[in-house]
């Protein structure tokens, strides 16, 4: 099972330029809203026509601008789950499901038993006579998924499937969806702006930014070793500084005014370093002297979050007037217990020494 996409579409405000290949399993497309994720799915489904390029599924050409091939959506056998689920509002649940069987199942008895089977599987029993407007968000999603499964698609395209649900329901449905995705034999494309969803549900991920996609990489790699700053931002990293080489495995972080040690290979022509908020540790001032990757910061604010403490810091060495505004501050996050414990031993509210492990410093282009 393999889906090949290489398309270009000029949309005036930006150019959609995606190229990726998805082989079996679940491939995530991660990007901020408006970056062209949904549009890519619509091009694959045949709802939108790209200006040029090629879309292919298991050797079947969906679209090829050179050979002037452009299959109708009806011919592509693609299951697209819309953000709003797109259930037919004037039809009952049963009729909605029946609509998916209409194109290929003419036998009424067989159709009915297929629907009954899928209703049981998707926990929809008893809802057959309801209209979509009378269903909860979770039920609507299950009907939409059941409808797609009935149409026997060769590839599954999920467009932000959880965006219309509240937090509590999201978790429950995510677990259900994970189970269903395992059973689905074809490839799945999962579009989301949420890195957590992508991390939990996908095997591989393709980051999209401003209409262009980066190569597909294993999900773990995106979160543990992003290469570009854009990828790091999407993976949730919040602290950046411009950086230049300063000897072997050392960089000078110019926005913070410190030299730091890192591990592993740095990409060529790197420009930034990034450190996740959770990987910044407070150090007692008496232990800080001479310790590597340790420097002193001014405390700007201490914010109490739901389960953690967020400390906004300004490196004392930061004097570069050209520093990007967002880079001047460092955001450190830790559990409330850890912070309380630290405050018991250290009584200097104005400043804070922080330490970063060299393996946690990401060198980025």
């Amino acid at each position: 099972m393999s889906l090949y996409v290489d398309i270009k579409k000029d949309l005036g405000s930006f150019v959609l330029e995606t190229k990726f290949e998805a082989d079996g399993g679940v491939t995530g497309i991660l990007g901020a809203s408006g970056c062209g994720k949904s549009m890519t799915l619509r091009c694959i489904a045949g709802i939108l026509k790209p200006d040029e390029g090629r879309i292919e599924l298991d050797g079947r050409v969906f679209f090829d601008s050179e050979k002037k091939i452009n299959l109708k959506p009806q011919q592509r056998h693609v299951g697209l789950l819309f953000q709003n689920y797109a259930l037919f509002p004037t039809m009952t649940v049963w009729q909605n499901l029946m609509a998916a069987l209409l194109p290929y199942e003419k036998d009424k008895t067989r159709a009915a038993s297929a629907i009954r089977l899928v209703m049981e599987k998707f926990a929809l029993d008893g809802l057959e006579k309801r209209k979509p407007g009378q269903l909860s968000g979770g039920q609507q999603q299950r009907v939409a998924l059941a409808r797609i499964f009935l149409s026997k698609p060769q590839v599954l395209l999920l467009d932000e499937p959880f965006s219309a649900l509240d937090d509590f329901l999201k978790w429950k449905l995510e677990l259900e969806l994970a189970g269903l995705l395992e059973e689905f034999p074809g490839s799945t494309l999962f579009v989301s702006h949420s890195r957590e969803e992508i991390y939990r549900l996908c095997d591989r991920v393709c980051v999209m930014e401003q209409g262009s996609s980066s190569p597909v990489i294993p999900v773990k790699q995106l979160f543990e070793a992003p290469v570009s700053r854009a990828a790091a931002v999407l993976s949730g990293c919040k602290n950046y500084s411009r950086a230049r080489p300063a000897g072997e495995n050392r960089v000078y972080a110019s926005d913070w005014g410190v030299t730091l040690e890192y591990q592993g290979e740095a990409p060529r022509d790197f420009k930034y370093i990034g450190v996740r908020s959770h990987y910044i540790y407070p150090v007692l001032s008496k232990e800080a002297k001479g310790k590597k990757n340790t420097f002193c910061c001014e405390i700007i604010r201490v914010i109490e979050d739901v389960f953690s403490i967020v400390i906004i810091l300004k490196p004392k060495g930061a004097a570069d007037p050209e520093a990007e505004a967002g880079n001047r501050q460092i955001r450190a996050e830790m559990t409330k217990d850890a912070w309380r414990e630290f405050c018991r031993c250290e009584k200097n509210p104005g400043e804070l020494w922080i330490f970063m492990e060299s393996r946690d410093i990401m060198v980025l282009t």
Binding site: G79, A99, L102
Partner: protein
């Protein structure tokens, strides 16, 4: 009391509403897909009968359908039928005048239709014909029904263009509106008043139906149909 005008008015209004129902819907559906410039021009042309005085519409109809004019002459020669001054001439007048109401209301209904429903139908392998009749039309049903009722009401009340193209011949081309005028002109106040009452009752019923449709539409959380037919 001779009920012929009521019968004639109703059949003219019904036939022209049926014509306008289909042409209005298809115009609304296909014009929405056109290039914005073409769409703008067609939109103006198709809505003009709504704002032009009916006598101007009658003038245009006579210019096209009159027995010495191209279309009228051709029909006369081939089918040996006159298109003006017959009972069915009123259909042309009523259809042209009522068309914009159907067209604009249907267009409003189609514009508020969630296009992703059609897309999801396509990806499920459903034909475009199925999507139009089973998904799009039912979803827009109330707006389209309201448009049809308004078009019927307008067709029933048509006077200006009808009097020019069909005239007033008792028992042949007389409609309620032309009869009221004729009776008034000939000082038959009492009978004119009876026809006025008939007309008011029919119009009130029609408006009642529109209101009921609007109420149901509002209850189902969709956009409200505008009486003017404008968006």
């Amino acid at each position: 009391m001779d009920w012929y005008p009521l019968y004639n008015s109703l059949r003219i209004a019904l036939i022209s509403s049926v014509i306008v129902f289909f042409t209005g819907i298809f115009a609304a559906y296909y014009i929405a897909k056109l290039h914005p410039v073409v769409k703008g021009i067609l939109d103006v042309v198709l809505t003009l009968p709504l704002v032009l005085p009916p006598t101007v519409v009658g003038y245009f109809l006579l210019v096209v359908l009159g027995p010495r004019r191209p279309v009228g002459a051709w029909v006369l020669e081939v089918f040996h039928t006159r298109l003006v001054m017959t009972w069915y001439s009123g259909i042309f007048a009523a259809a042209v005048v009522a068309f914009p109401l159907m067209y604009r209301t249907a267009r409003g209904a189609f514009e508020s239709f969630d296009e992703t429903l059609a897309y999801s139908g396509q990806t499920l392998g459903l034909s475009n014909t199925y999507i139009f009749w089973k998904i799009r039309m039912p979803a827009c049903r109330q707006g389209i029904m309201a448009g049809a009722v308004l078009a019927f009401a307008r067709a029933l009340g048509e006077y200006g263009a009808t009097s020019m193209i069909a005239g007033y011949t008792p028992g042949k081309t007389a409609t309620i509106s032309t009869t009221v005028y004729q009776l008034w002109r000939t000082d038959n106040d009492a009978l004119a008043f009876r026809w006025v009452v008939v007309n008011v009752v029919i119009s009130a019923i029609v408006l009642l139906i529109v209101n009921l449709l609007e109420k149901r539409e509002r209850a189902s959380g969709k956009s409200v149909v505008h009486l003017s037919g404008r968006n």
